[in-house]
Amino acid sequence: MPSILHRTIALSLATGISLLVGGCLFEQSALHPAGRDASELSALAWFMFAAAVVVWAIVMGATIYAVLGKKKPRSERFADRLIIGGGVAFPTIGLAILLVFGLSLLPSWTSADTPDLRVHVRAEQFWWRLGYEQADGSVVETANELHLPNDATVEFVLSSTDVIHSFWIPALGGKMDAIPGRTNQLRLTPTKPGTYRGVCAEFCGPSHALMAFPVVVHEGSGFTEWMEQQRQPASARSDAFLGAGCGGCHVVRGVSEAGSVGPDLTHFGSRSTIGAGTLANTRENLIAWITTPGHIKPGVGMPSFMSLPEAERAAIADYLMELR
């Protein structure tokens, strides 16, 4: 359906909008698609927008004319015709066409063919536990930063253990809820390499607004290389980290695997954000986060480590930055 005309309209409107708002990076936008579903849906959105503007103009035009215009006297039969034509025939036909066409875009999430990659996503307050299924069936766990190969169909297996969340990467496609007690599937196919942003879309508590994640779509062998690196155990150990008891909640593979309440930190230094998309991953931010996470992210599960000596907090931060 997305004819060249629609594309042109969409493109010019999108450009106009980007100029309007100062040429920002629309990395969380459903109207700047980088995936198969998102492209289809943004074309559908622009098409429906255009149709809606036309319908609105016609109905309001008729109304304004009826109120202000100089009219010929009309008969009751004219009224009946107007009601049948405008109220019955037009919406019935219009909506039937829209339905046939719109519902044809319904994805078949449960299709039998195996996806190219399966990622297990467990949404927790307020972060994302990600597990990449490997060819041998094992799962490599990371957190809060999603990496995907370009042009591959990825199946997300969504679950939650606390409250209802919703997994949404606008640039790649629609959202799907992660509901306690249920497992939902969502398939997305990235078509344009780059960095995007995903968010939680279902209100899930105080820090719902701070539950995001960067999405990196790799070109060529980029994803395989990244996966290989993530598969490795941690490159170093740290007494400061272990001494402060960080291992009680965080896994650093090869160093401490006792507690896994919080996000896996094995390759923390390779990630671009802290606290699920809340802060940029810099040393200063990391020290601030370790000191008072609750000030930065209300309701976060991580306790404050203000009681640790400053040097020790800095040492933990240095260690984590090193885990690339």
Binding site: Q28, W56, D80, G102
Partner: protein, 501 residues
């Protein structure tokens, strides 16, 4: 009958119908008094919830704002939605109907005046109870549809306040529904057959019946909810065999018809106002009655479109998408019947008519975006974003607030015997109309650019800072319409004595 007897009888009649004075004024059950109390109270709640919305808009005016903390923000938007829906949109229907229905049917009062008064006091008590919670920092904070497990397991006492307060409102709504249904069926003047009833009566009848079917699932859901919170019964707790989706079904099988419970009585006001100012009887009376019935019926079959992203099978998505589109047809018929009426008549330009046009312009946008989100795949993107915030406000402001404002200007002389100022009416209209569109039109885009709803903050650099700032400015212009209205009401009261009601 001798003149003396006649005079004695008149005296007796006047005594029976006299308004109680002093402290006893609170015991009044006359529909024209209770109706006015009801309307004034509902408007007061609306102004309160509107003030909450302005704080929300201030917080979102700029990225990474820290005007209010997350916990307070969550209480603000939960209470804004709750109060607007349960303490303004639904009660204002009951309030207006109690005030104007008897006169329209040629009756002196409704069949059970004490029931109306009972409903009003329930509404007032429940409403004050829920609204005041925010002043103690204990307002509900899980969103106005209170999804478990967040609301059952992690909310404080606010969730109980929500449940208890709304139980009063549910009682009030059902009381009003019973009263109004019996009123329309039994209190019509001799010779006024059902097919000659003013359209308002038909709408009231249909909406009353809808309330009787829509509120029980909510009441049932509320009972389960409170049993879980208070006595730890596991209806929505998956670890013990419950299911959080059960609440979503119970809530939305009430929640969707509720939209039409709000919309139909407002469009009923248009059905009375438009013919007056078009100076001719309404065109397509039977069409309107049938399509109102159709809307009421269909509205019970599309609640799942609020749950498109919960992982339902495609066949369910397709069915409920089609049902959601279908409801646009009877709605379209009603709108075209009004347009046809105006086409056939000669229009007197007036403030109520201006509000009717504004309502139409806004509501059609809401209807068209409704058609968009009913297409399930598009909803996967739009759901839970500012696109939905824009959509629902276009529907409710165009489908309820503007018609009610038209009704206020139209029926004020009936209720108080005085006219409202035309100049102030026009001022309040344009402030509201322009302010509303400036605030909410950009939100369609904000949502599709990726801003989820119910966020207390957002990072800079995602492309929606300016849109949010524009929305905030618009919200304040919109709010400016209400002082203009209040000044108008005050000025009308200050005028010399008019007809005594």
């Amino acid at each position: 009958m001798t003149p003396d007897e006649k005079a004695a009888e008149t005296r007796q009649l006047e005594q029976v119908w006299a308004q109680p004075r002093g402290w006893r004024a609170f015991s009044d059950v006359n529909n024209s008094t209770v109706g006015l109390w009801y309307i004034a109270t509902a408007f007061a709640f609306m102004l309160f919830a509107g003030a909450l919305a302005l704080i929300i808009r201030l917080q979102l005016a700029v990225p990474e704002n820290d005007l209010v903390p997350a916990e307070t923000f969550n209480q603000l938007f939960t209470l804004h939605g709750t109060v607007m829906m349960f303490l303004f949109a639904v009660p204002i229907f009951e309030a207006v109907a109690i005030l104007i229905l008897p006169a329209m049917l040629g009756a002196r009062d409704l069949p059970f005046p004490r029931l109306s008064a009972f409903g009003y006091w329930c509404f007032l008590i429940g409403g004050v109870f829920v609204s005041s919670s925010i002043f103690f920092g204990q307002a509900p904070d899980a969103g106005w549809f209170m999804y478990p497990p967040l609301s059952t397991e992690q909310s404080g006492i606010g969730a109980d306040i929500w449940l208890l307060g709304l139980s009063f409102i549910e009682v009030a709504s059902i009381a009003a529904a019973v009263e109004l249904i019996v009123g329309v069926l039994k209190c019509r003047a001799p010779g006024m057959h059902i097919n000659l009833t003013p359209l308002y009566g038909w709408y009231v009848l249909i909406v009353g019946a809808m309330i009787l079917f829509a509120f029980p699932p909510l009441i049932a859901g509320d009972l389960l909810f409170e049993l879980e919170r208070l006595l730890d019964w596991p209806f929505f707790d998956v670890t013990r065999g419950g299911d959080p989706i059960l609440w979503q079904h119970l809530f939305w099988i009430f929640g969707h018809p509720e939209v039409y419970i709000i919309f139909l009585p407002a469009i009923a006001l248009l059905a009375m106002i438009v013919p007056t100012f078009a100076q001719r009887p309404i065109a397509g009376y039977s069409w309107i009655v049938l399509s109102a019935l159709g809307t009421g019926f269909l509205s019970f079959g599309l609640w799942v479109h609020h749950m498109f992203t919960t992982g339902l099978p495609s066949i369910s998505l397709g069915f409920f998408a089609a049902a959601s589109e279908a409801v646009a047809i009877p709605t379209g018929i009603q709108i075209f019947a009004f347009i046809a009426t105006v086409m056939l008549g000669t229009v007197i330009r007036s403030v109520p008519m201006l509000y009717c046009l504004g309502a139409l312009a806004i509501f059609i946008v809401g209807g068209l975006t409704g058609v968009m989100v009913a297409v399930a795949p598009f909803d996967f993107q739009a759901h839970d974003t500012y696109f939905i915030v824009a959509h629902l406000h276009y529907v409710l402001i165009g489908g309820m607030l503007f018609p009610v404002m038209a009704g206020v200007h139209y029926y004020y002389p009936f209720a108080r015997g005085k006219m409202l100022s035309r100049t102030l009416g026009i001022w309040s209209f344009w402030l509201m109309f322009i302010g509303f569109n400036v605030a909410f039109l950009p939100m369609h885009l904000t949502g599709l650019l990726g801003m989820p709803r119910r966020v207390f903050t957002y990072p800079a650099g995602l492309g929606f800072e300016w849109l949010n700032l524009i929305s905030t400015v618009g919200a304040f212009v919109f709010a400016g319409g209400f002082p203009a209205l209040c000044v108008g009401l005050r000025a009308a009261q200050a005028q010399g004595a008019g007809r005594t009601a």
